[in-house]
Symmetry: C2
Subunit: 137 residues, 2 copies
DNA sequence: TTAATATACTATTATAAGGTAGCATTTAAC
DNA sequence: GTTAAATGCTACCTTATAATAGTATATTAA
């Protein structure tokens, strides 16, 4: 019931940016505000750029900004772009061929338990979060 | 939204054993039926033994059996004993001090999303699973 | 008491995730 | 053009998880 560290970072960064979505953010600024290591953040941002959630401007006075509006970015989009689709689906017992039609013994329990999670993350957009105090930590 | 491989194995093994809970199962039998590697399964079983879910009988004609009845073993007990308590709780954004009183921006969303998971795993016991075809994979 | 058949323990190896380093590339101010 | 300030790329290092190997210990049947 954990997401990867990389997902945590991606959600933190984009939540922070969503508070003022039209701004251009430099890597330096994000690093200092959110306390994420330099090179790791850049890698992550490159990934988010390639997946189309943000765009980057290279060179002097460059930085990152939203490519889609926060009203159009679902939380699941962020997780999916970092972890690869379906990372957080799949059988809890690790069976390859487990499905609704051919369920493992824990299938029903697992599917119901994660339904709320998937439901929330595929319907909530970035702007729906209460972004007050987004960088207070 | 994943559990560790070790949790997967633990759930698989105990689900299998729960179909005939009074039986004494040898490591060999579990390995052959469930296709888990020899030494890894033994390590795992030693851990489950220490956490009090099963007991082991050493020596010739030994094996593993339930220390608690499947009706008394919650799915969360199994996961907790393998992963350590609270492995699947904690803040989705990785903030140490995030709590109901001092929530991060995603706290509310996250708490609601995982509620069903925690609810299910802390209330469902092993015997409540539909154990038909537990070893068909 | 010996041999056979179990589990227990400890150390090692392999793989994946997380994180770091250095150089290359791009762009705007001057 | 040159320089400064920004992102991009690739390779490497570190740490944690997963898996393996070998030896020790326990128990029972003969």
């Amino acid at each position: 019931m954990k997401l990867s560290k990389t997902s945590e970072y991606a959600l933190r960064i984009l939540s922070y940016m969503a508070k003022d979505p039209s701004q251009l953010y430099t890597a330096k600024q994000l690093i200092e505000t959110l306390h994420i290591s330099d090179k790791y953040l850049r890698q992550l941002m490159t990934g988010l750029t390639k997946s189309g959630l943000i765009y980057s401007i290279q060179g002097r006075d460059g930085g990152y900004s939203f490519a889609k509006k926060p009203t159009e970015i679902f939380l699941s989009d962020i997780v999916d772009s970092v972890e690869g689709m379906n990372r957080y689906t799949g059988c809890i017992l690790g069976f390859e061929h487990c499905s609704d039609d051919n369920p493992c013994v824990m299938h029903k329990v697992w599917v119901e338990a994660r339904k709320e999670f998937i439901q929330t993350f595929t319907t909530k957009t970035l702007d729906k979060l209460n972004l007050e105090g987004v960088n207070k930590f």
